[in-house]
Amino acid sequence: MTGTHGSIRLVEDRCTSCMICARECPVWCITVESHTEPDADQAGARRPRLHNVLDDFTIDWSVCMYCGICIDECPFDALEWAEGHVPAGPTPIALVHHRQELAPPTG
């Protein structure tokens, strides 16, 4: 029954830190922290272009409704449904998962 709607994972390579997921989340359970850096190939330009670099991305599973709106709204498919329900935690803070915990399993 839990199927593929057990949790949500973040594919960082696709994330542009655009914040659409955090803004569209009806319960405000997503945070995105990022900063900007100049593009490397624009070093000599009069006005260097900047791009976002993701610093941290969190989902608070103690608040999340598993509605999937963040997944639907992400323009870059950086968020995906994943198998396996998020397990219970001993504190609410333990249910705030950061980018490492939200990353798809490697290998």
């Binding site: 029954m1 839990t2 009806p26 319960v27 405000w28 608070d60 599973w61 103690s62 608040v63 999340c64 409704m65 598993y66 509605c67 329900h85 998020v86 397990p87 219970a88 935690g89 001993p90 504190t91 609410p92 333990a94 249910l95």
Partner: protein, 141 residues
């Protein structure tokens, strides 16, 4: 007041008693998890054999029900003579869930009760309650 209406012998071997404190929709998932489990009188049961006791709070806890939930858990402790481990089942009981910004809803039961385990979900599937309870008393045989 008869605050806690149902207590289940969770594994059927007397190891773990689970009391139901259902307030809203997550309770449907809790009830799905209780299917086929025998109900017991906790005071009688605990007088004859020691067991762990958990109380699962499922559903939204509005401020108006905070004293009721608090008294229900205290009454269960008095009746049984042991302190129940409180499980916050679902987003509302854990943090207020979608109502965390409401003036009328508690931001999770940990505001007024010590909580042993927080089960995420809106609602959580019955299987994740199994895992949370197994984590409290050790994996079932």
């Amino acid at each position: 007041m008869a605050p806690v209406t149902r207590v289940y012998d969770w594994y059927g071997d007397g190891r773990l008693l689970v009391a139901d404190l259902g307030l809203a929709c997550c309770t449907l998932e809790f009830e799905a998890a209780t299917l086929g489990r025998p109900e017991v009188d906790p005071a009688v049961h605990l007088a004859s054999s020691p067991a762990a006791l958990a109380v699962v709070v499922s559903g939204t806890v509005p401020d108006a029900l905070v004293p009721v939930v608090h008294q229900a858990v205290a009454a269960l402790g008095r009746e049984t003579g042991c302190t129940p481990a409180v499980v916050a089942y679902g987003a509302c009981a854990s943090s207020g869930g979608p109502y965390w910004d409401s003036y009328a809803v508690a931001d999770g039961i940990s505001q007024f009760l010590p909580v042993a385990a927080y089960v995420p979900g809106c609602p959580p599937p019955p299987g994740s309650l199994e895992d949370a309870l197994a984590g409290l008393v050790g994996a079932p045989a």
